[in-house]
Symmetry: C2
Subunit: 460 residues, 2 copies
Amino acid sequence: MLTFMTVRELYEMACSGSTMETDQIEYAQLQGWVRTNRNNGSIGFIELNDGTYFRNAQLVYSSDLANFQDVSKYLTGTALTVTGKVVLTPQAKQPFELQVTEVILEGACDNSYPLQKKRHSFEYLREIGHLRPRSNTFNAVFRVRSVLAMAIHEFFQDQGFVYVNAPIITGNDAEGAGEVFTVTTREDGNYEEDFFGKKANLTVSGQLQAEAFAMAFRDVYTFGPTFRAENSNTTTHASEFWMVEPEIAFADLEDDMDLIEDMIKYCIQYVMDNCPEEMKFFNQFIDNTLLDRLNHVLNSEFVRMPYTEAIDHLLKATKKFENPVSWGMDLNTEHERYLCEEIVKGPVFLIDYPKDIKAFYMRINADGKTVAACDLLVPAVGELVGGSQREERLDVLQNRMKEMGVHEEGLQWYLDLRRYGGCQHAGFGLGFERFIMYVTGMQNIRDVIPFARTPKNLLF
Amino acid sequence: MLTFMTVRELYEMACSGSTMETDQIEYAQLQGWVRTNRNNGSIGFIELNDGTYFRNAQLVYSSDLANFQDVSKYLTGTALTVTGKVVLTPQAKQPFELQVTEVILEGACDNSYPLQKKRHSFEYLREIGHLRPRSNTFNAVFRVRSVLAMAIHEFFQDQGFVYVNAPIITGNDAEGAGEVFTVTTREDGNYEEDFFGKKANLTVSGQLQAEAFAMAFRDVYTFGPTFRAENSNTTTHASEFWMVEPEIAFADLEDDMDLIEDMIKYCIQYVMDNCPEEMKFFNQFIDNTLLDRLNHVLNSEFVRMPYTEAIDHLLKATKKFENPVSWGMDLNTEHERYLCEEIVKGPVFLIDYPKDIKAFYMRINADGKTVAACDLLVPAVGELVGGSQREERLDVLQNRMKEMGVHEEGLQWYLDLRRYGGCQHAGFGLGFERFIMYVTGMQNIRDVIPFARTPKNLLF
């Protein structure tokens, strides 16, 4: 019997150990792309990838094949439809092979194909971003990206969180969080005559709008693109990136940290369960401490440490830091990594940061000096998540805005959330790309975004 | 025993018929917002909504309560923490009530609260977009929006589709599909000196980039925001809206339509299963033909009809149309609705449209006049989905681009997809907001977007 199958299905069947199914599937038809093709004149081998699975199917063809001469010349990248007999090969490296009876050419590929069977640099592959998902590394990266996105949705939806699409075009700049892109239909900066009748920009955060929805649904989350017009060329900055911003009502900073810890663990476990081949690949070729590190996180209880205590540890450290340490400073990655890698030896929440280095909406602690903020620091990366309890007291919030030069105009709606049945609430922001980098070991944010946008770079 | 519970959990428990659980949960603590509060001096009733469930919990309190006088004055919108005894009331309208033993004020609300217990117009509620999710209608709309988004992710991920985040900022304008927003950090239109070193705009579609990923993963989908700078104030146009754009390799138009039909049915069923209270509400207060219509769709096989046959039906119609009918025209909503409501009496795919009214990437049929496109028309709405098989033949595609004035410059990467192992493939676009409108019966796109963006309108 002839069955249309995917490479994933064939692997699942071959590895299930069930012979019943394979008895029924004698002949299978596959469609995919040639990764390699070699032959000795009478017998040939094609590694075929069909995009459904990280590994390839091994096709064996012989000179019995009517179009053997043509088939033996198909180059890497060629698209084929192939029929053949499924033979289990439990002794071999791959669990099955397809003994080919028919090969149909779907799309040719000549030797100008930029993606040859050899190791290409990530820099080179960025220039052919439309082809790089066909390479092993990027195939693995972008499948993990997809699976991790699903993990996030499942984690929140299973607990009844409502998914909110915060607006992308906005008149607010949220937290004054750096430079923003203008959205316009004009070339003269006359925003009063512009499409929206005022200056519009791309959002830097959906948090404030998410807070409004948390006051209706209790638990909500955003998951969408955010933007920064920062002119910095580093491995961790992109102009366009996706953020997850949950917001929970009737909750304090402790609840917030519990949620963050649960989410991180759930998502890591989910990717390990659903992308075992990809994770093996990353551990072998990208970062051979990866699986140990992630397993360690799964089995750790995340420590919670006040900022003030962290500063004490840093001041006492024998290690020499590039940036000098003092209370009130914003920590650098070197400090963050020292704290989680050397002091805690695992993930750590720093809490209760000095108010002057944090945003206006964070709740002032009883000491008057610190805010109920938490940053999750993890080994090898540093900050992964930033969260806080939000200031729900109207008068305290208004004073704080005045202190920090945040204008009430345009934020009356945000203050309304405190005027009308406001309550304790908290939330956090997870940079999705940073999380992908953390889970895959990839070192450059350009390599975890399908088509990355950075200064002077707008390909595709 | 005292248990913290949500209103949803209490409803699920009370409606499950299991007395075992209720025996264990004698006392429950709830947190939420007052919807109504009335009393006769000795006994009072609060309808409390906590955002987890469409329906309210009924709280009963008496003058035995220490703060009875205060509680009896709490107005609509007030946030409370409430403890009480759970009593099943199978004879009453609501399946349980909470006999209150303690009420703690979390956040006050005075009578300036703009959302009083009365029917407000949708126009008015748009102006208080930060509060409207607390109203019945918008609470239902935005929960359905969230659940429908999850339905889409589950539908595709369960079949192994890879989720692709197509770029939001782009240098292409995809299909020349109308006016675009410019993204800039300047006010003088000097794009060479701009952030990206060239003119950048907000995407109108992620399809072209999705095609690149389909050539690596076989089956992919996008789900993200897209933008149009069209200066039109209608009930169906917004400047910012979310699109789902699947793309499948080794597939033709028939496969595409199968996928669309499966997706529509899966998502409708999913929302009916997961939002029964909300759907009942829409059917009662928004559109009393809604459930019948959706059930009809679930049980219909979607008809497939060539455009040319559809024109024949329209020409023969006794009904008078505002827009005259002739072969080659783009259909208007009146024609689309006539076809599905009067001729087919159910959902219908129109296929094989004249090439001159469709985009450059659609595959030319053997007749040389039409393209392998499909639009799904549904009763009461008209077009819900637009799809097509893509032109995979490089020379045909290049000719078509020349004919239609689409420049190859900047799209060489797209042509590469045909040069290097291209294959038959197809895809479609679903306007997410239009789908929400279809599933809820809501008539204005502004009422299904958390914070809608339209000309001269950029609140929140």
